[in-house]
C-alpha cells in the first residue's frame, strides 16, 4: 500500500513540475517578459533597470532554476500594482474560490449522480428523455449565459437573491449553480454509463433473481462498483471548475482568485496572473493524486497490484 502511495505521489510531483515548466516557457514566448510587467509608457531606461533587477538578462537556464527555487520557497514575488506580496493576495482570495468550487461540486454531485442513476434505471422511459434534455441543456449552456439568465430572473425580476457580491450565504447560490451546471451534466452522463455497464453484470442479475429490492442493489452493489469512473471525472472536473470560476467570479463580482486574475490582466499585474494559474495547475494535479489514492480505497484490487487502471 505505501509503495502504491509513494509511486502515485512521485508521478504527481513530476506532472506538477512539468506543468510549472510549461508555464515558465509560455511566459517566455514573447522573448522578454519584462515588457509584460512595466506600465505603459515606461522609458527604455526603466525597462532595462527592471530587467536587470528581475534577472531577465540572465541565461534562460539560470532564470528557470531561480523560478523553481522561488516556487520551492513559496516566493511568488510582489504585486506591481498593490505593492504587497502576491502570496498574501492569493491567501486572502483562496477561501472564496474554495467556497464557490465546493458549492458547485456539492450541487453537481448531489443532483448529477441521482439523475444519472435514475436515467440508467429508467432507460427508454419518459423521465429518461426529460433528464436527457436537462443534461444536454446543462452541457451546452455557457456559464455566463446561465448566470445572466439567473440574474435576470432571480435578482432583477423576483428580487430573491443578490445579483453580485459576497455579503451573505444567499450570494453563493447563483454563482454555484452557474458554475456547477456543466459539471452536473457531466456527472449525470458518467453515472448513467457506469451504472448501465454494471447493470448487465451477473452479480446484479443474481441479486435481482434473489428478490433483493432495487434500492438496495443500487446502494449496496452498484454504488461502489460504479465509483471509479465517477472519481476520475470528479478530479478532472475540479480543474474545470477552477477555470470556470474565472468567468463566474467576474460575472457575479465574487472576490475569488478568478476575479483577481482578470483584474490583474487588465492592470498588467503579471505576477498575480502567474500565481493564479500556478495555483490552478497544482490544485488539479493534487486532485488527480487524491483520486488515484481513492481508487485504492474503493477497489482493493488496484491497491494490491499497484497497477494503473
Amino acid at each position: 500500500m505505501s509503495r502504491f502511495i509513494l509511486k502515485r505521489c512521485w508521478q504527481a510531483f513530476i506532472a506538477a513540475l512539468g506543468a510549472l515548466t510549461l508555464l515558465f516557457f509560455v511566459q517566455r514566448l514573447t522573448g522578454d517578459p519584462t515588457l509584460l510587467l512595466v506600465p505603459e509608457g515606461a522609458t527604455a531606461e526603466d525597462i532595462a533597470m527592471l530587467r536587470a533587477s528581475l534577472g531577465f538578462d540572465q541565461p534562460l537556464l539560470v532564470q528557470y532554476l531561480r523560478y523553481l527555487k522561488d516556487l520551492g520557497t513559496f516566493n511568488l514575488g510582489m504585486s506591481y500594482v498593490q505593492g504587497v506580496p502576491v502570496w498574501d493576495i492569493l491567501l486572502s482570495r483562496i477561501p472564496y474560490t474554495l467556497q464557490l468550487t465546493a458549492g458547485a461540486m456539492l450541487l453537481s454531485l448531489g443532483l448529477g449522480l441521482p439523475i444519472g442513476v435514475l436515467m440508467a434505471l429508467q432507460r427508454g422511459t419518459l423521465p429518461e428523455r426529460f433528464f436527457q434534455a436537462v443534461v444536454f441543456t446543462g452541457q451546452s449552456m455557457p456559464t455566463f449565459f446561465s448566470g445572466i439568465l439567473m440574474i435576470l430572473l432571480f435578482a432583477v425580476h423576483l428580487r430573491w437573491l443578490p445579483a453580485s457580491g459576497s455579503d451573505s450565504g444567499a450570494s453563493l447560490v447563483m454563482p454555484s449553480i452557474a458554475l456547477g451546471l456543466l459539471t452536473l451534466a457531466t456527472f449525470a452522463r458518467v453515472a448513467r454509463t457506469a451504472v448501465l455497464d454494471e447493470l448487465g453484470k451477473d452479480y446484479v442479475r443474481t441479486a435481482r433473481a434473489k428478490g433483493v429490492p432495487l434500492g438496495r442493489i443500487v446502494w449496496r452493489h452498484l454504488a461502489r462498483n460504479s465509483a471509479i469512473p465517477v472519481i476520475t471525472v470528479a478530479a478532472l472536473e475540479i480543474s474545470h471548475l477552477l477555470a470556470g470560476a474565472v468567468i463566474v467570479e467576474t460575472l457575479f463580482a465574487w472576490p475569488g482568485l478568478g476575479q483577481v486574475a482578470v483584474q490583474a490582466i487588465e492592470a498588467r499585474d503579471f505576477p498575480i496572473v502567474q500565481a493564479v494559474v500556478l495555483f490552478g495547475a497544482v490544485a488539479s494535479v493534487g486532485c488527480n493524486l487524491i483520486a488515484d489514492l481513492l481508487y485504492g480505497v474503493v477497489d482493493p484490487r488496484i491497491r494490491h497490484t499497484g497497477g494503473a487502471q
Binding site: 508555464l23 514573447t30 455566463f144 440574474i151 474545470h240 474565472v246 494559474v277
Partner: protein, 300 residues
C-alpha cells in the same frame, strides 16, 4: 485469391457502394429530430458566411438617438428587430457578424489542433520509444493545467486578437485528438495490413498516412465535432473576459460582457447573443453525440 473457398471471400470482399448511395443511406438513417439541429448549425454557418448580405445594418454604425431600444422598436424608419445596444448599434446585425467571429475562430482552431493532435498521436503510436514517451508526457502536462486558465495566461502574454486566440486554442487543445488517435493507431499496429506494409519496407509516412490515418479518421471527426462546440465556448469566454476578438469587431462574448451591465434596463443586449451561443453549442453537441454513438460499435 484462393479459388477453393469462393463463397466466403466473395462475400467478405464486397465492393463498397458508391459514395452517393452511401450518403443517401447514411442520411436516411439520421433520426428526424436531428435534422432540426443540423438545420440550426447550417443556418448559423450560412449567417456567418453571408454576414454582409444578411445583416440589415452595419454592425458598428452607432446611433446615439436610438440607444437601448427594445426589440421591435422602429426609430425614424429604421427597425431594430432585436433591439439596439448602449451605443445605438443594431443587436441583430452584431449577432450576425458575431457568428462570423465565433465560427471562424472555432473552425481555424479546430483545424489547427486537429492537425497537430493527429500528427502527434500517429507519431507516438508508430515510432513508440522516446517519441511516444515525450508526446504522451506533454499531453499529461497540458491536461494538468486547467484549459481556460492556460488560454488566459497565454493570451495575456501574447496579447489579445483574432490570430492569437486561434493560435492559443489550436496549440493548447490538441491533446484530446492526440489521445484518441494514439489509442486507436496503437490498436491498429498489430493488424496484418500494417505489419505487411512495414515488412515490405513502406516508408513510415506512407504507413501513417495511407494505412493508419484513414482508419482513425472517423474518430477524429467525432472529436472535432465535439471540440468545435468547446472552441466556440472558449472563444466566447475569452471575449467575455476582454481577451478575444477586439472591438469594434463584434463577438458574442464581448456583447454579453457589455450587456451584463444593463441587465435591468436592456436585457436583450446580453440575452440574444447568449441564446445564440447556447443554440449553436447545443446543436453541435447533439450532432457530435449522435456521431459518437454511431461510431461506437458497442452502442450500435
Amino acid at each position: 485469391m484462393n479459388a477453393s473457398v469462393p463463397g466466403v471471400l466473395e462475400q467478405e470482399i464486397r465492393p463498397l457502394p458508391r459514395f452517393g448511395a452511401r450518403f443517401r443511406a447514411g442520411a436516411a438513417a439520421v433520426p428526424g429530430s436531428l435534422w432540426v439541429f443540423i438545420a440550426i448549425l447550417a443556418g448559423f454557418a450560412l449567417m456567418a458566411l453571408c454576414a454582409p448580405l444578411v445583416a440589415p445594418r452595419d454592425p458598428t454604425a452607432q446611433n446615439l438617438l436610438a440607444r437601448m431600444k427594445a426589440p421591435g422598436s422602429v426609430i425614424r424608419g429604421v427597425s431594430y428587430l432585436l433591439g439596439s445596444d448602449e451605443l445605438g448599434r443594431d443587436v441583430l446585425s452584431r449577432i450576425i457578424y458575431g457568428a462570423r467571429a465565433s465560427m471562424s475562430v472555432a473552425v481555424l482552431a479546430v483545424c489547427l489542433s486537429g492537425v497537430i493532435g493527429t500528427a502527434a498521436g500517429l507519431l507516438a503510436a508508430y515510432c513508440r520509444g522516446w517519441v511516444e514517451a515525450a508526446v504522451m508526457r506533454l499531453v499529461d502536462m497540458m491536461l494538468s493545467i486547467p484549459a481556460l486558465l492556460f488560454a488566459v495566461i497565454t493570451v495575456a502574454v501574447l496579447g489579445p486578437g483574432f490570430i492569437n486566440v486561434v493560435l492559443v486554442l489550436g496549440l493548447t487543445r490538441w491533446t484530446r485528438y492526440a489521445r484518441v488517435v494514439y489509442g486507436q493507431a496503437l490498436s491498429l499496429m498489430p493488424q496484418p495490413y500494417v505489419r505487411y506494409a512495414r515488412f515490405v519496407g513502406a516508408p513510415g509516412l506512407s504507413i501513417m498516412g495511407r494505412h493508419l490515418l484513414p482508419n482513425v479518421f472517423g474518430q477524429i471527426v467525432v472529436v472535432a465535432t465535439l471540440e468545435f462546440g468547446s472552441m466556440v465556448l472558449f472563444e466566447a469566454g475569452l471575449s467575455f473576459l476582454g481577451l478575444g476578438v477586439q472591438p469594434p469587431t463584434p463577438s458574442w462574448g464581448a456583447m454579453m460582457n457589455v450587456g451584463r451591465h444593463y441587465l435591468d434596463t436592456a436585457w436583450w443586449i446580453a440575452g440574444f447573443p447568449g441564446f445564440c451561443l447556447f443554440l449553436l453549442v447545443l446543436s453541435v453537441n447533439i450532432i457530435g453525440d449522435y456521431l459518437r454513438d454511431r461510431m461506437d460499435p458497442r452502442l450500435r
